[in-house]
């Protein structure tokens, strides 16, 4: 197998890895601020992809152009889920928290099957369809656009967290809820904001993915699982760690698919997780 094939696999793996990274960053933000894993994260992604699909087929709005709508819609969804469901389990045992979000995932996934049938749909050709050649490697244009969009969005999230007042308030709440409250930061509003922002990240990811990926009710399961692994790999609560974790997983998945067998590529994704957490039990960048 030539170096060209390796490079090709690596490039396409890293490109999808950026999208994994964006999904994982949203998940990690929620976890970091309030120690709750959103097991419905993949279903948020699925909803965003359907939103793109219906905006495109119904109104003819391009998924990339309509991206802010996805982000806003998912932000609202995230805040609503926090207010209606998560607020009730804040002090509950971990198992109750797992099942609150897991039940939400089951609910949303099957609601999608009920409303929109289990069919596979695609947005079809958009202005992005096609490929470009970079240094002798072929790159699909929708994937390239998705990677660029994911990098910009994650960068924006990072800027928001580290350079703005509200972002610092979020990080302060993650650091120490009570101390932040004493400084006049309302934890309840921060939690709602974390859910809104975390969901908005998958909103963007869903819009970007919808230009080249199949849209079906279970699409979130695969991306959700990969995102949990990416987050745990990077260390729960570390947005930067989740980003790196996502890229590693994209690369591993793609290389394993080319070199070993596509059918068992995910074995390596999960194995990498096990190896990393066994060497570093809190992930690559996790707080101890």
């Amino acid at each position: 197998m030539s170096a060209e094939v390796v490079a090709q696999a690596l490039v396409s793996g890293v490109l999808i890895g950026f999208v994994f990274a964006l999904i994982a960053a949203g998940l990690s933000l929620i976890f970091g601020v309030m120690d709750i894993v959103n097991f419905a994260h993949g279903e948020f992604l699925m909803l965003s992809m359907y939103l793109s699909y219906f905006l495109y087929t119904g109104l003819g709005w391009d998924p990339v152009a309509a991206l802010p709508i996805n982000a806003a819609a998912l932000f609202v969804l995230g805040v609503a889920v926090y207010a209606l469901l998560i607020r009730r389990v804040l002090k509950a045992p971990m198992l109750a928290q797992i099942f609150a979000t897991f039940g939400l995932g089951v609910f949303l996934q099957n609601l999608a099957i009920w409303l929109w049938l289990p069919d596979f749909r695609t947005v079809g050709d958009t202005w992005l369809t096609g490929r470009v050649e970079v240094l002798g490697l072929f790159v699909s244009r929708p994937q390239l656009a998705a990677a660029v969009g994911a990098i910009l969005t994650t960068g924006g999230l990072f800027w928001l967290l580290t350079r703005t007042e509200v972002g610092r308030a979020l990080l302060a709440t993650a650091e120490d809820r009570q101390a932040a409250a004493l400084m006049g930061i309302d934890p309840d509003r921060m939690f709602a904001l974390a859910w809104g922002l975390g969901a908005a990240c998958v909103g963007v990811a869903g819009a970007l993915l919808s230009t080249f990926y199949y849209i079906f009710p279970q699409v979130g399961v695969v991306f959700g699982l990969v995102a949990y692994v990416a987050v745990a790999l990077g260390g729960f609560g570390s947005v930067a760690g989740a980003f790196v974790g996502g890229i590693i997983i994209g690369a591993v998945e793609s290389l394993a698919g080319v070199f070993i067998a596509p059918a068992i590529k995910n074995v390596f994704v999960f194995a990498i997780y096990l190896v990393v957490v066994l060497v570093r039990p809190r992930g690559l960048f996790g707080k101890s």
Partner: protein, 330 residues
């Protein structure tokens, strides 16, 4: 032990023994078989997840180990499924050591996701393992019916009583363990592992004990399932959704209590079977919409599970009857 629980246990047992003699409808018998199967699985999960506080979302691995071990031994060596069940349990114990030895260093979500990772790896590998039937699965060789072969073709009754026997053993074991040294150690580990360690509890060894027992019981249930359905494939005995449902049964009923998984199974399984029968037709997933909604509501409003709810109601009533209105404040 107080008298009321003894009477309650006796009454439930008598009801379970009499049920299939009174209710002859095979579908209704099948539902109670499923209730007992998930009661058994939930009880097994509870040893590790409820008593010891180590949340496993990968118990389907042990279920599949039991189902595949006995089925492969039956197919290739003609081994009795009872010996296959023992072999499956032994294999599950070995596997639990292989998983537990590295993973018990992890805590909380890291452990839970590690068990998901192991579960997914095993499911993908078995799906691609030709010898074990791959994605197509395995049909069990159909032979003469009888207790020795653990196959019955004319009636569900023998399956019913075999499973009831397994369930009684598992529940008795759980109740006994809860009142002996391992049970106390497990609870100490669950409450605060560092504190338990500092008092001399060998935490890793006792977590491993919980996982090994849990795995063995789960594998026995897996063998029973294979003999009952007479067909296994990765999608039915190894999926993540099975792991989640086992955990859910225990949590819904009340994790960490002996009765919890039984109550959870008795509520959840008929509910999901009947909603499937009445709402699930025509490929639409309305039954699972209701199911998801229910899980959310219980998690949000009754995180202690149904046993917790029952206890609270009972406490409220006795407090009222004693005319001490303020008793609930504590």
């Amino acid at each position: 032990m107080k008298r009321a629980p003894v009477i309650a246990v006796g009454a439930v047992l008598a009801l379970l023994v009499l049920y299939p003699l009174v209710v002859r409808d095979p579908f209704r018998q099948h539902i109670v078989i499923l209730v007992m199967l998930f009661g058994l699985l939930g009880t097994a999960w509870n040893l590790l997840g409820g008593f010891t506080g180590q949340v496993s979302l990968g118990h389907a691995v042990f279920f599949g180990t039991g189902a595949y071990t006995s089925t492969l031994l039956l197919q290739h060596l003609g081994l009795s499924p009872w010996l296959g069940m023992a072999a499956g349990a032994a294999a599950a114990v070995l596997l639990s050591v292989a998983i537990g030895w590295p993973c018990f260093r992890l805590s909380g979500h890291y452990f839970a996701i590690a068990t998901i990772a192991v579960g997914e790896i095993v499911q993908i590998l078995v799906t691609n393992w030709e010898f074990a039937g791959g994605a197509v699965g395995l049909f069990l060789p159909i032979g003469d019916e009888g207790l020795g072969a653990l196959q019955f073709h004319t009636s569900k009754l023998p399956y019913y009583y075999v499973l009831l026997g397994l369930l009684v053993v598992a529940v008795a074991l759980a109740a006994w363990l809860r009142r002996t040294r391992p049970g106390y150690y497990w609870r100490a580990i669950k409450e605060d592992q560092a504190a338990a360690r500092s008092l001399g509890v060998p935490a890793t060894r006792y977590k491993q004990l919980a996982m090994a027992l849990s795995a063995a019981l789960t594998a026995c249930a897996g063998t029973f399932y294979a003999q009952y359905i007479l067909f296994i494939d990765p999608g039915s005995v190894l999926p993540l959704s099975l792991s989640i449902q086992v955990c859910l049964v225990a949590v819904l009923g009340g994790a960490g209590t002996v009765a919890g998984p039984l109550v959870g199974a008795a509520v959840l399984i008929p509910l999901s079977e009947f909603t499937r029968a009445y709402l699930g037709g025509s490929g639409k997933a309305l039954d699972l919409v209701v199911y998801g909604l229910l899980i959310m509501v219980i998690a949000a409003y009754e995180p202690g599970g149904l046993v917790g709810l029952a206890r609270r109601l009972a406490a409220g009533r006795s407090a009222r009857s004693a005319r001490r209105g303020a008793a609930r404040g504590a």
